[in-house]
Symmetry: C2
């Protein structure tokens, strides 16, 4: 785990915040090289699948011309939803670091099940909630603004 | 449930088969109008997210310029993976009909959990495995060919 990649993911989340999108950012790294950076664009693109993680996976796969993102790490500012967790798993990304959760117990249980499924060479070897203040803050501030 | 939409989904699956993709097709319908048809293009596009369901959701959302596919039905030739199930759920598609399963118990358990999560207006009200011979056949034939 290298903090600098989460800092970059947070920078991506800030871009989403500025565009009135739920502020989530993702960065995919392989052997110290950044393959992709992305932020949530669900509202902008009007498509549920345009989460930061999905865009980052698409960009990284395009970059290396392969859907297999083996030995890659993904840094996400928030715990992934099941869609993104399953895409990460299917892409064979090996390590997942996320900045915080927003306390959705059901989500945590589902993604734990997804990540621990071991068929078809899908190996997520490490999943870690880094529980970072900055990641909590940006998402909490966004929803606080929305409630106003 | 109308059989004709599954027939169209099967036609999509056949297109995938012909392109050496795992043969899965999907059709999204709203009030008797077809919003989108799609087939799996994971290998062609080299992206794990290019499943038939994800492409159909993207196309349908583009067509109605809205990520909310409320009151839509999706017809899929095979039980969805967790990525697609979660996208269906987040898009608020209300009814899911699939043609068969390939017996992945873990998958069935995970998607049941996803579909039954009720937060944020996500309401999948009906999920049904139609258990159709044609849907079984095309997927079994594909993997039989691959083993040769």
């Amino acid at each position: 785990m290298e903090k600098k990649y989460m800092t970059l993911a947070l920078k991506e989340a800030t871009k989403a915040y500025e565009r009135d999108e739920v502020p989530i950012g993702a960065v995919i790294v392989k052997d110290g090289q950044i393959l992709a950076k992305a932020h949530n664009q669900k509202e902008t693109k009007q498509n549920v699948a345009e989460h930061a993680e999905m865009i980052a996976i698409r960009k990284a796969s395009k970059k290396i011309k392969n859907w297999r993102l083996s030995d890659c790490e993904i840094y996400i500012t928030l715990e992934p939803c099941p869609m993104c967790a399953s895409a990460i798993h299917q892409a064979r990304i090996s390590k997942v670091y996320y900045g915080c959760t927003i306390g959705e117990k059901n989500n945590s249980e589902i993604i734990e099940k997804i990540f621990s499924t071991t068929n078809r060479n899908q190996k997520v070897t490490h999943v870690e909630n880094l529980n970072l203040d900055e990641c909590h803050q940006i998402i909490q501030q966004f929803f606080k603004d929305k409630r106003k």
